[in-house]
Every structure is written in C-alpha cells, then in structure tokens.
C-alpha cells in the first residue's frame, strides 16, 4: 500500500505520544504502524475532541468505533483480497494481529530493555557500517504494488535506525544506500524512483533539523543533478552540527572505485608537488591512501551489518572494512528491528577483536 503524500509530521511516530490521553494511545496501538504514522496524529486529536464533551454511552460508542477501525485497518493491510464472510480466516487473522500486538506492546519492549542492559558498559563500535539490503524482496513479500516501493520504506527505516544508533551512543554510521552498479544497471524507472526517495530522505530531517553531520561517499557525477544537489545541501546544512555524530551516505558508491579515486587524487597531489613515481613508490603508505578516501578523517568501521541474509560485502567500504567485524541478519532491511540491531551490538561486544594479529 502506498501512503499518500504529506507524510508524518513527526517521523517514526509510535503509538505513544505523551500529549494524548492513555486510552487514545492504547487504541492507536491497535492500528498498524504505517497507518499510525500517516493518520495517528489527527486521529488522536479527533478522538480526544469527540470524547471530551460526550456522555458515557456516547463515549463507549466512539471508542468501540475507534477499535473497530483498528481491526479494519489491520485486516486491510493484510490485503483487500480477503474474502468477506470467511469467518475462520477472519478469526485467524484477528488472533494473529492480537498476538503480534501483544508481542509488540509487552514482550518486545521487555526484551529490548534487557538487551540494552546487557550492552551497558561493554565495548561499543565507534563506527557502524550498514548494508541495507532486501528492500525489494520485502516489498514483494508484503505484496506491495511495486518492488521499488520497498526503497521508500527502506529509506524511512534508515532514519529510524539512525535514531537507534543515536540512542545507543554510536557516533559514526555509514549507510550503503545504493551502489555505483545499481545506478548504472537497474532499469531507469527504478533508479529514478530510488533517487527521488533518497532526495526526500536527505531533504527531510537530515537537512532541516540535523542531529548528524552528513557526509557523502560515492561519485556524485553519476547521479541525477537533483539528487547530487540534495545531497550537497544536506552536507552544507549539517556542516555545523555540533552533536559530534557523523553519518555517511554511500550513494552511487563502490569500494574499488573509491580506492581508485583515492589513488588518482594521491597521484595528482604528488604530480603537482613534482614527486617522481619512483619516489612515490618508495614512500607510499596505507595512511596516504586513506587520506584520500571518501571517509577520510573518520575511524574505520568496527562493525558492518548486512541485512537480508546475504553474506557478502558487495564492494562496500572495501578498504575501511579490513578489520571490521561482520554481522549478518536474516531480516529484510525494512523489517530490521531494534532488537536485531541491539543483538548485532551484543555480538560485537562479545567478540574479541584481533586487528589481524
């Protein structure tokens, strides 16, 4: 299901906005998250307004109606195809929704806080690289109209995951949004859509209310002008971000290309200084190359997370990930939950890092 424009006023709105009375928050919890993000705010206001002056029987009626709406929205999310009148199917779906709800509301928060407790005081990666893989497969699995739509959910999810990193105290994050090969190969409609999604993402909170200083990794020249512009704007807007947090967006990025570009720039630098190739060959060090990478000045990633079960680096941070711990997660990117993220951190904390020694 595509969500109409004018997205959420506050991204990632959960069921719990402290401004709303408890019963409104509980009822909102019955609605699917996507619905809540889109309509939650206005719905909460309406429900509060309507019940405020109403008699008790009228309140009961209003609340019953609001609850029915939630069940309806959940069922609709699972596809309009559901044949009406199939009572057993309905019961199964409702029971499943109720179980999922129970999990979301009680089990999941408990487990999340337990995981957080386990992480407290342990080693934390300074820099996390994320390969957000599986958007298209997720969209197909969800029965969305077009697999490309998965990218939209994926980008929104990236913003949420940044929030988790913030909460966990991670100060450097690099997100692999799209590879140089993606830009070159996929059919142009899909790339165009992906680019628009990326533009929307960076024009959003990353530019308007920067909590992260934005860096770009990748060749802006291969991107559409509007995308390159949006990315540059985000870099400009967040330049003075004082939080000490850095997010690098890898767009049109390839690790080999990056290393080649770094060498090229190193060679130009020395050519201008008049260094001979022989001199350069004798003196060149790994640090010389690192200074010319897109990620110059940032620590190398300690942990690289890849979703969707694929166990490859796929040309991501080729140079920088030499000593990174790798963590693979089965979930498709949009379905990657905070507990998956915390598990990755826990796994990192439990490993003994050797740096090749």
């Amino acid at each position: 299901m595509t969500m109409p424009p004018h997205g959420t006023a506050r991204p990632g709105r959960g069921p719990a906005d402290q401004r709303d009375p408890l019963y409104v928050r509980v009822i909102l919890g019955l609605y699917p998250p996507r619905w809540r993000e889109r309509y939650g705010d206005e719905f909460a206001v309406l429900l509060t307004d309507l019940t405020a002056g109403a008699s008790w029987p009228a309140r009961v009626r209003l609340i019953a109606d609001a609850i029915t709406g939630g069940v309806d929205a959940r069922r609709r999310r699972q596809g309009d195809k559901a044949t009406p009148g199939r009572v057993r199917g309905w019961i199964t779906r409702t029971a499943r929704a109720a179980l999922a709800l129970l999990g979301q509301r009680f089990v999941y928060p408990l487990y999340t806080s337990r995981l957080r407790g386990q992480l407290a005081g342990g080693p934390l990666p300074r820099h996390v690289g994320i390969i957000m893989d599986g958007n298209r497969r997720w969209a197909r699995q969800q029965g969305l109209a077009s697999p490309s739509l998965g990218h939209k959910y994926g980008a929104e999810h990236a913003e949420e995951v940044l929030g988790w990193c913030e909460k966990a105290g991670i100060r450097h994050v690099t997100v692999f949004m799209c590879s140089a090969e993606n830009v070159a190969r996929r059919d142009s409609d899909e790339v165009a859509f992906l680019m628009r999604v990326i533009e929307e993402l960076v024009a959003g909170r990353l530019t308007r209310d920067p909590a992260w200083q934005v860096h770009i990794a990748g060749n802006l020249d291969v991107l559409p002008d509007s995308t390159a512009r949006a990315l540059k704007q985000a870099v400009e807007a967040s330049r003075d971000c004082a939080t000490g947090r850095h997010v690098t967006l890898a767009v049109g990025y390839g690790g080999r290309q990056e290393v080649i570009e770094a060498f090229r720039s190193l060679l130009y630098e020395h050519a201008e200084r008049g260094t001979t190739l022989i001199e350069l060959a004798e003196t060149i060090t790994a640090d010389d190359v690192a200074r010319h990478l897109y990620t110059a000045g940032q620590p190398d990633p300690d942990l690289v997370i890849r979703t969707s079960g694929e166990q490859r680096l796929s040309n991501f941070l080729l140079w920088q990930s030499a000593y990174s711990e790798l963590y693979f997660c089965e979930a498709y990117w949009p379905a990657f939950r905070e507990i998956d993220f915390l598990r990755a951190l826990r796994s990192f904390a439990a490993r003994h890092r050797r740096y090749g020694r």
Partner: protein, 111 residues
C-alpha cells in the same frame, strides 16, 4: 443493487465515504469539522474509526487529498476525481429517488 464495476463506484463501503465526499463538496475540512458537518446536515454521527476508514480509502483512490496539517489537524479537500465520483453517485441516487417518489405518487393518486 447490482454490482457496479466502474472505477468511481464507491462499492460496499459507500455510506460513510459518500457522506465525507458530500461534506467536502463546499470546501476543505479536517476530521472534526467533517463529523460536525455530517451530524448537522444528515443526523449521522460518524465515529472516528469509521471516519478515518473512509478517509483512508478515499485518499487511496485519489478522490480526496490532504492539505498540510495545521497544528495536529489535517484538512482534506475533494480532488477532481472525487467531485466526479460524488456527482455520479448523487446522480444515481437521484434517479432512484425520483423513480421511487414518482411511482409512489402514481400509486397514491386516486383513480
């Protein structure tokens, strides 16, 4: 009623969406204003779940569109397709109403 397959048909869920469309016909309104207007004009009290069920479906079908929210309220307005759908439905209802009323009048006329 025979099933219709035209795209603008409002289907089984016709009632509340039709009320919402009718309410928006004279200008954009947010959720609360729609419930007040519908209650005042037709006596139907739309509950919040019903209202947003209708709004969601109408928006998905491109019959209404959201305007930027003011505070936490978001006004909606009819799209061109929405106006057309409302006009079509109202036209059909008028035909049925005319038919019913005229035949009742004939039946009641003393011969």
């Amino acid at each position: 009623m025979a099933e219709r397959t035209t795209t603008n048909d409002l289907g089984r869920w016709s009632d509340p969406p039709l009320l919402v469309l009718a309410s928006l016909a004279d200008g954009p309104k947010h959720g609360y204003a729609i419930t007040l207007d519908v209650a005042a004009q037709t006596g139907v009290r739309l509950g919040p779940g019903t209202l947003y069920g209708a709004i969601g479906r109408l928006e998905e079908r491109g019959l209404i569109e959201a305007l930027p929210p003011r505070q936490r309220r978001r006004p909606y307005r009819l799209t061109a397709a929405g106006e057309q759908a409302l006009a079509d439905s109202a036209q059909r209802m008028r035909q049925v109403a005319d038919l019913g009323l005229s035949r009742l009048a004939v039946a009641r006329t003393p011969s």
